[in-house]
């Protein structure tokens, strides 16, 4: 998929830019993931559709800087992630990338507020200075103050997923990666969740990459990427 300008442009325009990305697990034959071009500008939320086992996890690990590509380039804003050391990628993830999983996003024995502020330490930021923002975010996401000191394990699944959004957006990251965050929610909760997530992401100036096998969620996004085409190295769209 090609978004906006051609590849030759300066990468700083894009929130995320992939060039000729190739990845294979050690000891395996052939590329597990091949993606020639992917460019997203700020606010261009992307929906990646794919069933599990379609290289989705690999792509998420690459995008979040857990792993690096064997070949190609991966830029997050002006930062060449493919060139960074593992430790620098970890810090970059803390500062610039929010991650939300399918479920069990929270550390059960920490309070809701502490779960949100968890990211601060790893991004070398003072947790205290972020408390106000954390409280506001939680309230925007429909979690009243009374819940903030409760242990994460005491919350419903829907509430926990919204806490995860608050944590992912706390530092106004460039990118939010959501991996099937609605799969454990019922239809009503799911729609409410999608609206809240996108609204808060827009408010934070964060670009969302959303992965799901649920086609019904596609309507929230203007940009789509079918995962099953990546494995063959076919450039999508």
């Amino acid at each position: 998929m090609k978004v906006g300008q051609p590849v030759t442009d300066k990468p700083k325009k894009y929130v995320i830019e992939l060039k000729n990305l190739r990845f294979r697990w050690p000891g395996r034959q052939g590329w597990q993931l091949a993606l020639d071009t992917l460019q997203l500008e700020a606010g261009q939320h992307l929906f990646i559709r794919g069933a599990s086992g379609s290289g989705k996890t690999t792509l998420l690990n690459l995008l979040s800087g857990i792993t690096t590509p064997n070949e190609g380039e991966l830029w997050l804003q002006q930062t060449p992630m493919h060139k960074l050391s593992a430790a620098k990628r970890d810090t970059l993830r803390a500062q610039q990338i929010g991650v939300v999983f399918q479920q069990l996003n929270l550390i059960p024995y920490l309070s809701v507020l502490d779960n949100v502020l968890l990211v601060a330490g790893f991004a070398n930021q003072e947790a205290r200075s972020l408390t106000d923002r954390a409280i506001v975010l939680l309230e925007h996401l429909g979690l009243e103050v009374a819940l903030h000191q409760k242990k994460a394990a005491e919350l419903s699944v829907g509430q926990q997923q919204r806490v995860a959004i608050a944590r992912a957006l706390l530092l106004r990251p460039a990118l939010l990666i959501a991996d099937e965050p609605t799969s454990a929610l019922d239809a009503d909760n799911r729609d409410a969740f999608m609206r809240l997530m996108l609204a808060e992401a827009n408010e934070s100036g964060t670009t969302v990459i959303f992965v799901s096998h649920d086609q019904a969620l596609q309507r929230y996004f203007n940009w789509h990427l079918p995962m099953d085409q990546l494995e063959q190295g076919v450039q999508p769209c």
């Binding site: 690990n61 857990i66 792993t67 593992a86 993830r93 500062q95 991650v99 999983f101 024995y109 330490g121």
Partner: protein, 418 residues
């Protein structure tokens, strides 16, 4: 943040963590306790006799002489004649002597024949002199001064009459029934074999044996207690004597002179040297004990490692979350090590507390039962070293689960194998 995480994570698993801490507290307090007793026993042991420059007895090995003269263990091979004793006593370098005559007992406790110098010059644990708890030093031939344990165990009071037995067995068939002794004094506890001794005068020893020959009463010849007093009660021989010198510098000279004494074969030993040699033999046992406690400690630490390893399975989710918010794999390594540190520190503090309370309660028991005087403060250089060792070992073994957390963080990434 990391400390808070480690603390709350441990609290979240407090059931298993508590059991781990418990087993560590038991093994650490055992280790520190044994170490403490080791030092205290050594102190108590080596301070059994002090201030004495030489111990003199019939020719024998130095351990044998030390054992029977000071610890009342075993028997002398031969006696020292009274004449020899008198001659050596006149040596210009010798300030004082304490004669000791052994061979009788009272209900398992050794009888020590001596004189008033014993109470004046005998020193233990540094410069401590024997103190009377009750009564006075013996003055009469048939007077006796009891060690504190003898009086306490047998329930003897001042003024009570006791009968000495010939030989040193617990049960003796030949008793000196005709010449009973009166308890005139009871010594204060010392934590030395003095507590287990029955002290009488040399004349008393002579009196009860006046109608004996070759270790048995002479048939047909009876001397009553009153008759004996009329007779010459100058001892014919003693078993050993302790020597105090005018100058420490003369010790080796006097020792050589006694060893080369022409009158009869004698041995003079330096009590400090002999005590150290004896302790070295005994320390085999205490070292073995220490090895066993170290093994118990290792078992405790391995238990902790096992618990932490088992918890890693349920903590995969935690690892993935922490990775997602930007934790380095090495941060997870240190997180687990921090938990090891917390568990071990808490265990060390609790073990120390347990030990102190235990010593506080056990002190009286040890003193009354075993004559062991134990200091209440178990903190010393060696115990701090042991605590350091415990911490080091814990962190070393903690590397196993920590490394597992590191590996998981590195390979599993954000995915969780449920």
């Amino acid at each position: 943040m990391l400390i808070k995480l480690a603390r709350l994570s441990l609290w979240n698993r407090r059931g298993t963590v508590l059991m781990t801490v418990l087993s560590l507290v038991i093994s650490i307090s055992l280790l520190l306790g044994i170490d403490h007793l080791r030092h205290e026993a050594k102190n108590s042991f080596t301070s059994t006799v002090s201030g004495t420059d030489l111990i003199v007895g019939a020719r024998s090995g130095q351990l044998n002489l030390l054992l029977y003269s000071i610890f009342r263990i075993g028997n002398a091979t031969a006696n020292i004649s009274w004449e020899s004793y008198q001659r050596i006593q006149r040596h210009p370098q010798i300030a004082w002597t304490i004669p000791i005559s052994l061979g009788d007992s009272h209900r398992g406790y050794r009888v020590v024949g001596t004189n008033q110098d014993y109470f004046e010059f005998y020193r233990y644990a540094g410069q401590q002199q024997l103190q009377l708890a009750q009564g006075e030093i013996f003055d009469d031939v048939y007077d006796t001064v009891l060690g504190s344990e003898v009086a306490a165990r047998l329930g003897y009071q001042l003024g009570q009459e006791i009968v000495l037995a010939h030989g040193i067995g617990q049960v003796s068939f030949s008793e000196h029934k005709d010449k009973p002794f009166t308890v005139v004094g009871i010594l204060a506890p010392t934590g030395t074999p003095v507590d287990q001794s029955v002290h009488v005068s040399l004349e008393g020893i002579e009196a009860i044996h006046i109608d004996w020959q070759q270790g048995a009463p002479m048939p047909g010849r009876r001397v009553s207690a009153e008759q004996a007093l009329e007779m010459d009660l100058t001892p014919k021989a003693i078993t050993a004597f302790l020597v105090g010198l005018n100058s420490r510098a003369a010790t080796f000279l006097v020792q050589r002179q006694i060893n080369e004494f022409r009158g009869e074969p004698l041995t003079a030993i330096l009590p400090g040297v002999a005590l150290a040699e004896l302790w070295q033999m005994l320390s085999m046992v205490e070292r073995l004990l220490l090895v066993i406690t170290v093994l118990v400690l290792l078992a405790g630490l391995v238990g902790m490692t096992t618990t932490l390893l088992a918890s890693m399975k349920e903590r995969q989710r935690e690892i993935a979350i922490l990775r997602a918010v930007g934790a380095h794999p090495r941060t997870l390594f240190w997180l687990v090590q921090l938990e090891v540190l917390l568990i071990t520190l808490v265990s060390l503090l609790l073990a120390m507390a347990v030990l102190m309370v235990g010593l506080w309660f056990g002190q009286d028991l040890l003193a009354s039962r075993y004559g062991l005087f134990i200091g209440l403060n178990p903190i010393r250089e060696s115990s701090l070293q042991l605590m350091g060792l415990v911490l080091g070992l814990a962190l070393l073994l903690g590397c196993i689960p920590s490394w597992l957390a590191y590996r998981r963080a590195l390979t599993d990434g954000l995915s969780v194998r449920l």
